[in-house]
Point group: C2
Chain length 440, copies 2
């Protein structure tokens, strides 16, 4: 639900009388080729390992109902009214406490509340991107971030990752070659913790190195951190924003630690950028929902929110372990990442299999996934699959992985039949692409 | 709270290390020169006739609390989760019932739920406006619509109004002269009912004529109708969208008939445009708040929402009458519009008075208003003031208008002192600008 694959484009056609009236940027608004398949995949008999929905049923509803009723009792007219374009001051103070858990010191003055962190992404992009500007992003990267970048006519340049996250040396090379080509690089978009879709985490040494590279090259860093508090064993390295405040716009959200249905996220930005973000937010929506903000503020004030995050951690840890053990059992020859938090595993298929072409067959076998191509702006990712363990139960995960193995093995059998025995080894052995085969 | 005056610009400066990195459009994001004054004006001793906040205290809180609790009891996990980018299907069906009250027939398939109707404005503008494209709008027009248009580098061309709304002959002339100048006109933005800020309503004959002009010239109409159900005596003429479906994008909202704190509005759009609006909505925010949508859906299902709108009508009718009677008492020589619904009166000052220059003195006298300049993209409106009667109590309105009269008469005395007796008549007699002096 939270993501649409970034493949294919919809522009007008001759049946649309307004075809010639759209802005140029509208050609960059992508419709998903796999959307129709996902509609099929939402049938109850299909195990979906495709979505990024948090398991909100792990949140005791009483906690939310209590907050709602307190808000209406104590703050009714304020909750029902327009509010500030920057967001409720009390909530902005509480957001500082949340960010402090990841080592971030800041001022509530520099926090702006947004309609999910997705809207912060849109607003930052609107502020910075002229047509043809370059956004650096990990390869692969978050699908709906790329939809936003495309919708403002940015060029996305993918910088490779490995099991320790974005590769600093590759970042240096990409910057040098883009500069040599006369391109304007506006920012680096990165998900350092439990990456979506790759499931890997940027090491501490690399965080420092990447900040240094960004600074040397006068490139803003857009740090997107929806999953950082959802670690399984120990916390990930501290946020990029904990080291560098002038060169980082940090994005956070309550969608994964509380519930996405309220659509409340935030940006913490350098002061001058923050001022423009408020203006852009007011233009776009006047103000974020007073009601949603006050409910979350009450929840943070009265409920054991850290304990609740611990509960979520336990749920997702169990599901991740179930998924990895099912993969080891049913697809022992493949490679995948081992996330230490978050929602996703990134699977590498055997050579010659195509994750996008295989999807309809998977849906026929009653399992859905997101093909790797959704996470690249340049057609990459055909050999990869993102598997989500956040929403399905452990039992469903086991069933889903077993069905996926049936599909993959069926495709391999087909390939072998047509390839003859000579190429058997090549087919069965995964290519040493990201993730490297030594990752499990 | 819901509006910021569209005067002045903020761009970066040398203290902002990212000054040279912003997109070109960011120069069009306006900061309000009167914002600091409005901060002062929010002190309790100041009577504010400036804001556009609905009087949400007229909404019985039980009605909302009941809806909240029903949603959590019956639909908790759905309310807390991500939803469709187009909005909750049940609510889109109910929105059809709301629009039917203004003569609109449509399909729930063509409704898209947005984060207030403000976000629909932003999304439509993003879809259609290339830099330099023209948006036609009434003069004056809604301030934050113009902020949006500017933020996408549109040129706003104001078409004059009179007491029957936008003047068709003027629209024809403006289109012809813009076309002759080689300009691309993308849409006509209009508020036909109880106009913000002018308080006038477009006549039925003119609705038909304007639709015809738009059709002849291949210009999309963006019909913004936040106040249509808040009429005082009889309903206004039916919506433009009730006559023409292919050439109109209609915007509605629950902010004025229920509460703005939920941030739920909608667009009803021709099918092809609707499809692109969904993509743009998903890019911007993934999906509108499930929680807010379901609460409103429950409210529409279980509460006497039409009776509640009647209650609001009564509240606003009384306040309008109070304001007009206070104006007649304290400022009998001035002219103003007589709105038959909505939130606003548009006042014309005597010649030589400047609404923007006078504002600091008004705040000193403990009354605030919005200067007419906020509602023009071209510096017009110096002789006008928008007075809001929606939020202050009748007693406050009387006090506010009395204070305003003190300010205006003080300014006139000053003018007369400096002008000498010869120009007295010219000063005391309003210019025959919009609104014409025969309007009260």
């Amino acid at each position: 639900m939270s993501e649409k694959a970034n493949t294919g484009r919809t522009t007008g056609n001759n049946l649309d009388p307004w075809y010639h009236h759209y802005a140029q940027r509208t050609a960059g608004l992508s419709a998903s080729e796999v959307r129709a398949l996902f509609a099929v995949a939402s049938r109850p008999e299909v195990v979906s390992l495709a979505g990024g929905m948090p398991f909100v049923s792990a949140l005791p509803q009483d906690l939310v109902t209590d907050s709602l009723n307190r808000v209406m009792r104590d703050l009714g007219p304020t909750a029902l009214q327009y509010g500030s374009g920057q967001g409720v001051p009390a909530l902005r103070e509480q957001i500082l406490e949340v960010m402090a858990l990841e080592g971030i010191q800041g001022s509530a003055d520099d926090v702006i509340v947004t309609t999910g962190s997705q809207h912060a992404l849109e607003l930052v992009t609107k502020l910075f991107i002229d047509p043809g500007d370059v956004v650096l992003a990990e390869g692969p990267s978050y699908v709906t971030a790329m939809v936003v970048f495309n919708s403002f006519q940015a060029e996305v340049d993918h910088v490779p990752m490995d099991e320790w996250g974005l590769i600093p040396e590759a970042l240096r090379e990409h910057i040098a070659s883009l500069k040599a080509a006369g391109k304007t690089i506006k920012f680096l978009y990165t998900i350092p913790n439990f990456h979506n879709p790759a499931g890997v985490t940027l090491s501490w040494e690399r965080r420092l190195e990447i900040l240094e590279i960004a600074k040397q090259n006068d490139i803003l860093v857009l740090e997107d951190n929806p999953y950082g508090l959802l670690y399984f064993d120990g916390p990930p390295p501290q946020a990029l924003r904990s080291v560098e405040s002038d060169g980082v716009v940090y994005l956070g959200t309550f969608s994964k630690t509380l519930a996405p249905g309220f659509r409340v996220g935030w940006a913490l930005a350098p002061h001058a950028i923050r001022e423009k973000l408020i203006l852009a937010n007011e233009a776009a929506i006047l103000c974020p929902s007073s009601f949603s903000q006050l409910v979350i503020s009450e929840y943070l004030k009265n409920a054991d929110w850290k304990g609740q995050i611990n509960t979520f951690r336990g749920v997702y840890r169990e599901r991740k372990e179930t998924m990895l053990s099912a993969l080891s059992e049913h697809l022992p020859e493949l490679s995948w990442t081992n996330p230490t938090g978050g929602f996703y595993v990134w699977l590498t298929l055997p050579a010659h299999l195509d994750s996008k072409a295989m999807l309809p067959r998977a849906v026929t076998e009653l399992v859905a996934y997101t093909p790797g191509t959704a996470f690249y702006a340049d057609g990459g990712g055909r050999q990869n699959i993102r598997l989500s363990f956040c929403y399905p139960t452990p039992e469903s995960i086991r069933v889903g992985v077993r069905r996926l193995a049936t599909v993959i093995n069926g495709e391999l059998d087909l390939l072998e039949t047509f390839a003859g025995t000579g190429s058997l080894d090549a087919v069965r052995t995964p290519r040493n692409s990201f993730p490297p085969s030594d990752m499990h």
